[in-house]
Amino acid sequence: MQSRGSTKWHYLGSQILGCLCCTAAAFADPAPPLSPTNIFAPASTPAKSIFGLSLFVLAVTGAIFLIVFTLLLYSVVKFRKRKSDDGREPPQVYGSNQVELAWTIIPILIVVALFMATARVIASVQKQARLDNAIEVVAIGHQFWWEYRYPGLGVVTANELHVPVSDDHHPTPTFIKLLSADTDHSFWVPRLAGKTDLIPNHPNSMWIDPHEAGVYLGQCAQYCGTQHAKMLLRVYVQPRADFDRWIQEQRQPATASSAASQGQRIFETTACINCHTVEGTVANGHFGPDLTHLMSRETIAAGAAKNTPENLRQWILNPNAIKPGSLMPAMQLSDQDLDALTDYLGTLR
């Protein structure tokens, strides 16, 4: 029969392990999920590699914490001055070489182990070779929106990134090249990958291979100015067929509609075309998002508002009401012009 002492330790050990697992599990995607941006709910290989490393690191640091915490607590309790103290000083101990050696060597070994585990994951993420069938995206950060180009597929869009689901047996990852048109930004969709910065004159790249369809959320993670907080990310992971269909739709130029010709005229004769592009029309500006398929998006203003006619109208009337500090100026249009313009934009599917 085990002695009472060791049973106690086994019990304690299993309690601790249970706590750690529960904590990780509580963070890791129960139903309903704790958060759509939970770093412990990976849905793509880079995020999964990081998750594995993080469990190892948490276990090691957790163990260190428990041991040292217990020792500190013990010393503070056991060696406190008692009321019955005789007033003499305790034995004056100046040091011990053996003890110092021990608590130098052991941490060095722990550090080596942590380093090896870390280096492996850095390599696996950073040195991932590009697959032939990978989707190539160029993401360009702007103050305060995201531009996405699919150079191989001839698509330009903004703020909502579409990628195909990747299957472990036939992976179709997406490689994203990260550029910036102005200042520093950072692309962070926690369930898909760690964050990577977008820095002008310093191209970066990252990759994702999401295993499950759905919408993944994130936002800019490097302070880039007034509206850094509302430079949101939405990544739509779609089954391959749906993705291909989306690509096809995005490649089409805007279809002219006679019903909205007044709105189109307003668009083309006010300052809109200086900043925006609508493929197939004279609008060819690059400062703001491409609007050719504006209605295919669920949100506007980089996720700051839902894409409804009311919000769209409000946005054009006064962007600062939705996103104060946004770089789009208030267009100073009359109510009639505003209505016509909103109708026109409503035709840009």
């Binding site: 759509p36 939970n38 914490f65 000083e89 608590w103 100015g225």
Partner: protein, 557 residues
């Protein structure tokens, strides 16, 4: 020559006109007075920085709050960070160093008293310059308001294109000016410690406080200078059309990051080493034992000093560095944990087998040990670069560094205030108020900064004036904000205690804690000349030798 060079303001000083007293304080070169000036200056900015933090947290108490505009919020977090680091923590630590080092090494003043005064006034002016930005000019957005580029002011956000007006210039100049003050103080500390020790006090016999501040001063020399250089470069870009960080002209935004963090990382060691110094003096006295492993503590600190110059790019793991660079900075970051851990173990061993008295200074130091342990471990987590690809630039980092600076440095600083207040003022502070301060503050600290880690783990980036509901961040942000009010209450009790005790505290005498270093051998407060005659010493604890002539330290060292 006036006879006032000897006459000393005594308790009959009330009879002297206020303007004379003011003049004395403004023109003083006495290390003790300059120390107090630094400390009082820092306390004023602590309150200001704390108000900034409170407004930030009120804005973040719930999603889509509109307590302040995004523009104001961005200025608030920039000013909060800049104020706390450069105009609270650094001055208060320099203040304690200035006050205590000459006393602990048996000297009459610092090596260069006038340089000392110059350094203080440069720091003082820098802080005023930073806050002058609020009224600097009116008009266009950004033309004359507080800086809003974050405390590390990444390029190219700080270029003329993206930072219109002069707010960034106030940031740059304020830090440039106070940086000269910091370098002056560092030169002074090094010269004092190396050249002014009393007879018998070899380097191996001097208090750890002196050692830790010496190494801190070395780091200031090596680290603040790169910041000075980078800011000169930024000014060249903004005013002379230079291209150091001009990405349109082929310049690099990343190189600003490297230059800044070459300063920025050693800077946090500059902040923590004096905190270690406080703990290394207080824990032995209240454990009634000498510090365990003195030589190893010195060696570990030297190691920390060196290694800290080689870890800076762990602030840049997400920037897209090469595999080699990333792994190098992982190993150097993890390596620095070894000497740091050794120090924690030595403090633990100091308490081990002792007779611990839970007076207020010791309470704060014990809390420091627990909290610094946690802070160090969350640092290790971020040292694992891929983990940092999530944790970096998120609220996890914010929680981590506040855990170090508030949970570590500020707690140790409170300990230092309570420990040396009797020496500086001649009065004992109230134990009751001290303990009230402790409990209020520790509850608030843990409410705020323990729970702050969680939004980071759930994807909340830093420096956002608001956040979306539905991301699971709401409750945690609420708890974090509630903790702020406990901390504010604690600070108020603390300030009240200082003021009340200064006027009404009981007389402290020269050695109220039964301690062992030289500052406790002279009056409280010390006379202008510090010691009647320069002492000579034979061990690390000269007063222990005096109190225990049958069993002096020098027999065992």
């Amino acid at each position: 020559m006036s006879t006032e060079s000897i006459a000393w303001p005594s308790t009959t000083a009330e009879s002297r006109p206020f303007i004379d007293q003011l003049h004395e304080w403004v023109t003083t070169v006495d290390h003790k007075r300059l120390g107090i000036l630094y400390i009082v200056y820092a306390l004023v900015f602590l309150v200001i920085g704390g108000i900034e933090a409170t407004v930030i947290r009120i804005q973040l108490i719930r999603p889509h709050n509109d307590f302040v505009s995004p523009q104001v919020f961005n200025r608030l977090f920039t000013m909060h960070g800049t104020t706390m680091i450069f105009f609270v923590i650094m001055p208060v630590l320099f203040g304690f160093a200035n006050y205590l080092i000459p006393l602990m090494i048996g000297a009459r003043d610092m090596a260069f008293p006038r340089l000392n005064a110059f350094s203080f006034w440069m720091t003082c002016f820098g802080g005023l310059l930073l806050y002058f930005s609020l009224v600097g000019a009116n008009g266009l957005y950004g033309a004359g308001n507080a800086p809003d580029v974050g405390w590390f002011a990444y390029a190219p956000l700080t270029s003329r294109t993206f930072s219109v007006g002069h707010s960034t210039d106030f940031w740059t100049l304020a830090l440039l000016v106070s940086g000269f003050g910091s370098i002056g103080t560092a030169i002074n500390i090094i010269a004092t410690v190396l050249c002014m020790r009393c007879p018998g006090m070899m380097l191996a016999k001097m208090p750890l406080f002196a050692w830790l501040n010496l190494i801190m001063a070395g780091l200031v020399i090596l680290a603040v200078s790169p910041l000075t250089a980078a800011q000169i470069m930024l000014l060249v870009d903004r005013y002379l059309g230079g291209h150091f960080f001009d990405t349109q002209a082929g310049g690099s935004a990343v190189i600003w990051m490297h230059f800044f963090w070459v300063f920025g990382h050693p800077e946090v060691y500059i902040l923590i080493l004096p905190a270690f110094a406080f703990v290394s003096e207080i824990v032995p006295v209240f454990s009634r034992k000498p510090i365990f492993g003195y030589s190893v503590m010195v060696g570990a600190t030297v190691a920390i000093g060196f290694i800290s110059m080689s870890v800076w790019a762990h602030h840049m793991f997400t920037v897209g560095m090469s595999f080699a660079a990333n792994t190098f900075f992982v190993i150097s970051t993890m390596a620095i944990a070894v000497p740091t851990g050794i120090k924690i173990f030595n403090w633990l061993a100091t308490m081990w087998g002792g007779k611990i008295e839970f007076r207020t200074p010791m309470l704060f130091c014990i809390a420091f040990l627990f909290q610094f342990l946690i802070a160090g471990l969350t640092g290790i987590m971020q040292g694992a670069a891929p983990f940092d690809w999530h944790l970096g630039s998120s609220y996890f980092v914010v929680a981590h560094f506040h855990y170090v600076i508030v949970g570590g440095i500020l707690f140790a600083l409170f300990g230092a205030f309570y420990y040396w207040f009797p020496k500086m003022s001649g009065k004992m502070s109230s134990e009751t108020l001290g303990k009230l301060h402790f409990w209020l503050f520790i509850i608030g600290f843990h409410l705020t900064f323990d729970f702050m880690h969680i939004p980071g783990l759930l994807g909340m980036p830093r420096r956002i004036y608001t956040y979306e509901p539905g991301r699971g961040w709401d409750t945690w942000n609420l708890i974090v904000t509630i903790g702020v009010f406990f901390q504010a209450a604690g600070i108020l009790v603390f300030l009240g205690n200082l003021i009340w005790s200064y006027f009404r505290g009981e007389a402290a005498g020269s050695d109220p804690w039964d301690a062992w270093t030289l500052e406790w051998s002279t009056n409280s407060p010390p006379p202008a000349y510090n010691f009647y005659s320069i002492p000579s010493v034979r061990s690390r604890r000269p007063l222990w030798d005096l109190k225990h002539p049958d069993d002096p330290d020098w027999k065992y060292e």
